[in-house]
């Protein structure tokens, strides 16, 4: 799977630098779904020790190629003006950064040390690569729906991480819908 990160300046963005203090590092991978909120809530409700832990929030934004194919159905890059390409790329970047800042606030208000990164590309590989760099004690993901391909049972990204990471992975199921 070739990385197209080099094209179009689609680079990871360090939204919040991770504090360099000691302590257990917990990675939480999030997307724009409600399910991500359930995962965050689980972390805040007692999994995270606010005195000693630090958290790294990760969000993967689709690359231009992913975006064009998945959202618009293009198999080949259509003729789009450079200005519009820039707009698209900036839109994805802005959206990801806003999400990370919004969710990070929930941790900051409880004085939990936190960092946040906006990654680009295929969620499975981008997360795998970053997590391997970080050496966390544990990774928290929602069991479904993380990433652009939605699987009905176990999300394809969660499943990939489960099979490929050499770190404990905590899968958080979605909240059952109340009747």
């Amino acid at each position: 799977m070739t990385s197209r990160k080099d094209e179009l300046d689609e680079k990871p963005i360090e939204v919040i630098p991770l504090p360099t203090t000691d302590g257990r590092l917990i990675v939480i991978a999030i997307d724009h779904s409600e399910h991500a909120d359930t995962t965050i809530q689980f972390a805040l409700d007692g999994f995270i020790n606010p005195n000693t832990d630090k958290v790294m929030l990760l969000n993967v934004r689709p690359s231009l190629q992913n975006h064009l194919y998945l959202e618009l159905g293009y198999h080949h890059t259509p003729h789009i003006s450079p200005e519009n390409i820039q707009k698209l790329v900036q839109y994805e970047g802005k959206r990801s950064v806003e999400l990370l800042n919004k969710k990070a606030a929930l941790f900051l208000e409880k004085n939990i040390k936190i960092g946040a990164y906006s990654l680009v590309g295929d969620a499975r590989y981008a997360l795998e690569e970053k997590i391997n760099e970080l050496h966390p004690s544990c990774v928290l993901v929602g069991s479904r729906g993380l990433g652009v391909i939605q699987s009905t049972i176990l999300g394809s990204v969660s499943k990939y991480l489960l099979h490929h990471l050499n770190y404990p992975v905590t899968l958080v199921p979605p909240k059952p819908k109340s009747n």
């Binding site: 544990c138 990471l165 404990p168 992975v169 905590t170 199921p173």
Partner: protein, 149 residues
């Protein structure tokens, strides 16, 4: 066991006697769980009588042997955990691991489940953690999957 302990979390831990299983418990209790608030419930599903076992010995001999093995396993795991300050309960029951876990998930209503990604045996390698995948799919509560590295 009489104590003043009120569990903040009930943690269900299916075990199968494999190295991966004990490694998973070790890893979880060292960095992911805490003796102060967690009640660990070890769960062992012991084999129902197999066809080859009925050829080799009488049914009730097999059951007794399995029960013995299960008790020894659970007691030794519990001892280690208690020496690390944990509160532990243990359940030994007969049946297929997946069905047994489903039942206990319903009965115990744990807050968390801890499983090893891979158990034991050649078959497990082919299906790559079929029990852990089953738990992940069917659990309504978070599941921590510990890799076998």
């Amino acid at each position: 066991m009489v104590s003043d302990f009120t569990a903040k979390r009930i943690v269900l831990i299916p075990v199968d006697g494999s190295k991966n299983s004990s490694h998973a418990i070790d890893c979880a209790t060292k960095s992911l769980l805490s003796p102060e608030g967690d009640l660990l419930v070890l769960l062992h599903a012991r084999a129902m009588s197999t066809f080859t076992a009925t050829l080799a010995m009488k049914n009730d001999e097999f059951s007794k042997a399995e029960y013995q093995r299960s008790t020894v396993l659970l007691e030794s795991l519990a001892e280690i955990l208690k020496s690390n300050g944990y509160h532990v309960k243990a359940i030994s029951t007969v049946g297929d691991a997946r069905g047994v876990i489903d039942d206990q998930l319903e009965l115990l209503q744990p807050d968390l489940v801890v499983v090893a990604s891979h158990g034991k045996g050649a078959l497990e390698k082919v299906f790559a953690g079929s029990v852990s995948e089953h738990v992940v799919r069917h659990s309504n509560v978070p599941v921590i999957v510990i890799p076998f590295n």
